[in-house]
Point group: C2
Chain length 403, copies 2
């Protein structure tokens, strides 16, 4: 019986994790949940799973949840809140395995404390590796506990790496769907609207990650995550565009053999893999090879998608640069969604923030969070500048050509 904490239980990964737990009640037990802001769902989950602790975002939400649980006759569930509440969820002594799926830097501290407490981690929070990857992976190595990736690409890499030893790896290859603008010429990028950018061809996701997929910054973040997770320099991490997203990633070994992982695009699969590793257990998540027809591939166009280049550069520098990349991207995407900057200005804004950020090795989660705040403030200021410039110089119907 594996005893599980879920950080981010009301989000997409959290709900998929509970669905996996539900399918295998003899194998997994929910011990604690960090639910965030969705108190209605937190109430349902507490009632259904009877965890020892539930954490919500704010004190007022904790009070409201306590009242609801009491009137529903649910006893024995302790309700806590905020960052300290998340840490209690992550480090509870009865927990073996922590699913880290809080979105954004809010998930950093609790995940780091879980690693420090010697828990095995299933990692779905991007910032844990992009912003604090050096810290968290170093601590996991010290603890001798696995960091198992819960996203389709890195999970695929983890599986393919079983075909050899780390020193036998020549390169790992992340597949990218290519996003909605894969076949849009660069000359049309000035006209890209928010609606177009939010229209991802294969995945239905949150707004930020959808825009990050359209700029390929999401793939850039994954390059950084891969470098941290597998302890490889950026030169050993390649990207290949594969619109069907059937092959989730590949590992090329020094002898010339390449292993690839294919499956349905269902997050329950990497979650199940992480929860059961080193075993595999039977699921109904079947991919029918008899129905497979065509797979397409092409190299990514870094000229068209400069975010990918920015990510490689930040991965090389490490430290504060990757923190700034993530923070500036979040601000830039928000500014684009608000209509303050154009699509092709997203990388311009990010590059401007990152270039002014010192590399500086960050020694603690506190330093990471401070660097994150600084980069956000700088990005917001710059975004406001873009906004003014845009408003004055560029009529919406005309567009800016930048190359």
């Amino acid at each position: 019986m594996k005893r599980i904490a879920i950080l981010g239980s009301t989000g997409s990964i959290g709900r998929s994790t509970l669905s996996v737990v539900e399918s295998f009640p003899e194998r997994f037990q929910v011990v604690t949940l960090a639910a965030g802001r969705n108190v209605d769902l937190a109430f349902e989950q507490a009632q259904r799973w009877r965890p020892q602790i539930v954490s919500v975002a704010a004190e007022s939400q904790a009070e409201s949840l306590k009242v609801r649980l009491r009137s529903a006759g649910v006893a024995g569930v302790e309700v806590v809140h905020g960052a300290a509440g998340n840490v209690r969820v992550a480090t509870h002594r009865d927990v073996d395995f922590v699913v880290s799926a809080i979105v954004g830097v809010a998930g950093l501290e609790a995940t780091y404390e879980a690693v420090r407490a010697g828990k095995s981690i299933g990692l779905a929070n991007k910032e844990c590796l992009v912003a604090a990857g050096e810290l968290i992976t170093a601590e996991a190595r010290r603890q001798g506990k696995p960091l198992l990736p819960i996203d389709s690409e890195h999970n695929a890499i983890h599986q393919c790496l079983r075909g050899g030893r780390m020193e036998e790896v020549r390169r790992i290859w992340l597949t990218a769907s290519g996003g909605p603008f894969l076949n849009t010429p660069k000359s049309k990028f000035a006209d890209i609207t928010v609606e177009q950018a939010l229209n991802h061809p294969t995945w239905k996701m949150g707004n930020r990650i959808t825009i990050d997929s359209a700029t390929l910054m999401n793939k850039g973040f994954e390059v950084i995550e891969a470098c941290r997770l597998f302890n490889l320099p950026p030169e050993q991490v390649g990207v290949i565009v594969h619109p069907q997203s059937t092959i989730h990633s590949l590992v090329e070994f020094v002898d010339g053999s390449i292993l690839a992982q294919l499956s349905v695009t269902d997050m329950r699969l990497p979650i199940l893999y992480a929860l059961t590793y080193p075993d595999r257990i039977a699921s109904d998540l079947n991919f029918s090879l008899n129905d497979l027809r065509h797979l397409d591939f092409s190299p990514p166009d870094v000229e068209k998608f400069p975010c990918l280049r920015l990510a490689y550069e930040a991965a090389k520098s490490g430290g504060g640069k990757t923190v700034a990349l993530n923070a500036a991207d979040e601000v830039a995407v928000a500014a684009f969604l608000e209509g303050s900057i154009r699509f092709e200005e997203i990388p311009v804004l990010i590059e401007s923030v990152v270039s002014e950020t010192p590399v500086g090795k960050l020694e603690s989660i506190k330093e990471v969070l401070a660097a994150d705040q600084n980069a956000r403030a700088s990005a917001r200021e710059k975004a406001a500048g873009f906004n003014r410039a845009l408003g004055h110089k560029v009529p919406a119907a005309v567009g800016v050509e930048q190359n």
Copy 2:
């Protein structure tokens, strides 16, 4: 330093093996060679590699080779011949690893004796698994020594299987190029000529294996090999048509993950893998993922290619049936190449022989060879009957429609 015997050193796999040895002189040493009928090349190989023993097919060839080596001043190479010579090559006490690459049943005895002598085996001889697979794999298990497949499909499976345990495998999938008649309608099969059948789209190979690829019998043999090698029932071995032959095979695990192996189509890669397993060493056999564009897949058409069905049936029965399948196929292919039977009569002839063969478990290589002789005699007799029928009833320009 791995000390190697090569059974079939003058054939394609043998020469590729020597090319691999040449690239890594610090890792591999040639101890013995079984060269067969090509005395000129046997002489060159003996001169270049200075093995302790060279075996050739006939006594007269051995005498001629001795004379040539003596006059070239090559000392210390013992020359032997025939089946007993092959066994000496395979079981030499200084040999660690035997590459089994003699074509046909001629390779059976020496390979079996190598397994019995506790050697590790790199297996390229099809008959070792199709005709004598139950015997040879049982003996290898008893010896606790690996049988490493040297062909692209089973080698790919071996690599993908590293991603989990055998009991976690739901199915293995062999890829098939589909042969030259993949897109030829069944109604045109009556008109297929020898020239068309020998025109394989992707591989340049010997005549028999080229025809076996055109009928899909080659894939059928590989299904049987896979069953024996990986100890799986035929229901757990699937075939998928993949004309580019870039993915060499796949393994589907019970959780729904599928691992696939990709590489260049160069036999040196599986040879290198087998010689270095469980390690991998750097080679220049690179597959450029940046140049990858399209991969196509489809299920095989068993109606059009009944040989595949015959192989599955023989795999289920085992024993004498797979011996007869192989023997009858060799005779049927020869009859087709001579113009005695039509392309679509190949499976008809084979099925007729196999259906009359008792299943009977074969307890020794001697019994396997006797069953092989019986099946060949039966197939030759039947082929002669077909020949007469053809000559009388079917004008070459008209064709026989059989469905």
